[in-house]
Amino acid sequence: MNRARVLVYGTAAVILAVTLVSGPAVGFVDLTTPRYDTSGLGEGNATVDRIDAPDSVTLERGYQSESYYLTVPDAKIRLASLSGKPTVAYGVDIPAFGYSRSTTHFLSEGTSGWVELSLQSDTLGSDTVTADAYEGTISIVLRDSSGKTVLYEEPVTVEVVR
C-alpha cells in the first residue's frame, strides 16, 4: 500500500471510529451536547443599574412588496451583579393591531457590564398597517429566582415609513 492509500484509509477509519465510539451502542463519549446548557435557566440573581432603551420604532415598507418590516433598535442594560442564569425578555407591544413580540435573552454567568438586547424583526401585512404612526410599548422583563421583575416599560412611537 502506498502512502496516499494509507492516509485515505486512515482518515476514513478515524471518522468511523469517532462516530462509533460516540454512538449510542458504545457511548464512550457524547459529542452532541446542546451548545447552550438550558438547565437552571431563569434561576439566579441579577441587578441591573442602568437601562438604555430606544424611544422610537419603525415600520418600514418592504422593498418591492406591500409588506411592512418592523425593526426595533437594540436596548442595553448594565449589570451590576449576576449569578446563575437569569433571563431577560425584550419586547414590543402595539395594541392598535394587537401585536406583541418579545425575544428572550439568556444571561450566562460571567457576563458583566453593558449587555445588548436585540429584538427579532418581523413582517406585517399592509392591511394591518394603515395609519402613519402608532403608539406602542417597549418592555424589558427580568426573570430570576425572585420571579418576574419589570425593569422597563415605557411608551414608544411606532413610525410608519412608506
Binding site: T11, T19, G23, T32, G62, Q64, S65, E66, Y69, S121
Partner: protein, 651 residues
Amino acid sequence: MSTGRAWRIDLDAARHRAGAVRTLLCRVVVGDRLGLAVFLGALVAIGLTWRIGFFISDSYTLANALVALADGSLVVEEAVYGTLESPGMVVHDGRYYGRNYGQVAAALPLLWALRGVTTVADLGLVFAALWSLVVLSLAVQVGRLVGRPSLCAVVGSGVALGAFALNAALAEPVAARLLPVAALQLGTVLAAALVATTVYRLGTRLHDRRVGVAAGATAVAATPVGFWAAIPKRHVTVTALLLGVVYAFYRSRADRDGGTDSLLTTAGFRGLAYALVGLWTWIHAGEAFVVFVALVAVDVPTAPSNDRRTLAVVGGAFLASLLPFLLTNAAISGDPLRAPRMLTPAAEATGGSAFGGGSGGTDGAGGTAGGTAVLPPVLGGVLATVADRLALLFEPFVAGARSVFADPESLYETFVRAGYDEYIGRHDNDQAINLSVLESAPLVAGVVAILATGATRATAAVRRDTRTPLREQFVSAVRTARSSPTAATDTFVALVAVLFVLVYMPRLPLFAQVTVRYLLPVYVLAVYALVRQDWVRRTLGVRGRAALWSYLAGVFLGAQLLFVVVAVWTVGRGGAVQLHAVAGLAVAVVFGVTATASALDDRFDGLTAVLSGITAALGTNLIALSALVYFQYGPYALPAVDWLADLLAAA
C-alpha cells in the same frame, strides 16, 4: 487444510465479484469516474445547504405516509408530523392516505439504513461523518482524474478530518423523530446529485467532457434544483427521472452505429426511457402523462426501427414499470387507474402562509387524472367514450394553450418579472417572495439566443435551397430528425419543455412556488438547450477561464455583498428575495443580449463568458443565502453550517 484453502479461494472470488458489481453499479448510475466525481461534488455542495425539517407543509403528508409505510401500512393512521389535514393528504373510505408513493417507497430503504446507522452512531453526527467521507472519496477520484493522487489524498484527508473535527465540536443532539423526514430528504439529495451526473453524461455524449462537467454543475448549482435539493417534494426526483428519460432516449439512437461499450441494446434504451416514465406515474401520473405524450410523439416516428420485437421490449418494459403505480392505486382506492391525487383531499387547500400553506391537493396536471373509470361501461359507446377520454386527456394542453393567449400577463409573471401579486401576497404577509424563472435562474436568459441561431440557420438554408420546394425541405427536415440522434433528442426536449409549461400555465403564478418549482424540470432542459448551442460551447472552450473566474467572484464576493446589503438595509425576507430578483433579472437581460450577439458574432464571446459566470453565480447566491439566511427551519445536517447560520442571523 483443504477447507482453509477452499475458503480463501472463495474469498478471492467474492472480492472479485464485489469489485465487478461495484464497477457495474458505477457505470449504470454515474457512467464513469468523472461522472462519479460530479456526483460526489454535488453531494458535497448540497450537504452544505441541508436543513433537516419541513420547509412546506405538503411534506408532512409524505413524511407521515413514510412512517406508516415503514410500519407496513398504506393507511396513515396518526400524524407523527403536523396534522392529518395537511395539503395532499387524501381520504378514501374514511381512511387517510398520502401521495407520491413512488418517492415515499424510494425513501423507505433509506429510512431503514438511517435507522440501522443510528443504532450505532449519534444522529447529530451521522451526516457530518457521511459528508466528510464523501469529501474524502471526491478527493480520491479527483486525484486519479488529474494524476495527482498523493496531493489530493493529503488535501482531501485534511479537509475531511478538519471538517469532521469542527462538526464534532459544534454538534448538537438531533431528535430521532426527524429520521423519516431526513430519509425523504436524503432521497431528494441523491436525486439532485443524479441530475448533475446525468446532465454530465448527456453533455459528454453529445459533445465533450468539459461541456458535460459545466452543464452538470450548472444544472444543480445555478438553477433552483439546488434550492429544492434537500426539500422532500417531488420536483427534484421527477427532474432526475426526466433526465434519465432524455439520456436513455439519446442512447437509444446514438448507439445505433454499434456502440461497443453499451450495457443495453438500442431497444433496451428505448425500453428504459418508457420504463422511467412508467415509474414517474408512481410519483405524479399527470406529469408522467405529459412526458409520455412527448416521448411517443417523437420516439415512434424517429426510432431506428419499430419492428415487432423492439415494440415488444419497449411495451413490456413500460407495462412492467407501471405495475407499482397500478398496484398502489388498487390497494388504496380499489381502482388501479385511480391515483391518490384523484381522491378526496383531506383538507381544502386553503393556502395559509407560503410556508405554512401548501400547493393544494388537486395537483392533477391532467393526464390520467382525467379518467376516473377509464374502461367504458357499455361497449356500444366505445367510440364516443374514446373520443371523450382523449378530449379529457388532452384537455390540459388545450387549456394551457388557451391560457397562454388569454392571459399573457401570467406568462410574463411566471418567466420574466414576478413582482408583487395581490393574490399571492395575501399568503405571504404581503411580501413578494415568489420569483419568476429568470429571477431564480438568470442563466436561462441565454436560451433566447436560440432565436438568433435559428434565424441565421434558416436564412442560410433558404438561401441555399431557393429552388427546392417547401414541401421537400420539410421532408428533408423530418429525415434529418430521423437520422440524427441529436436532432431527435433536441425535438423531444423542446416538446417536453413546451408541454410541461402548457400544462402548468393555467395555474401559474401560484403561491408557495418560490422559484416556480412546478417547472423545475424545465430549468434543467434549459441547461440542455444552452449546451446545444454552438456559441456556448465555443465560449466555454475558448473563454472557459473567464466564465469560471467570474462565477467564483460572483459567488464569493457577490454573496457577501448581497448579505451585507440585506443586513444593513432592513428590508426583511421579502425585500431580500426581491433584491435577488431585481439583480438577477437585470443581469439576465444583459446576458440575453450578449448571448444573442455571441450567437451572431464571436467578438462578443469574452463579454458573454463573464456574464454567463455572473448569471450562474446569481443563481447560486439565491440558493446559498436562502439556505443560510432567509429560510431557516430545523437543524442543519452539518453542525458547523448550523453554527455559521446562527452567526449570520445575529448580524
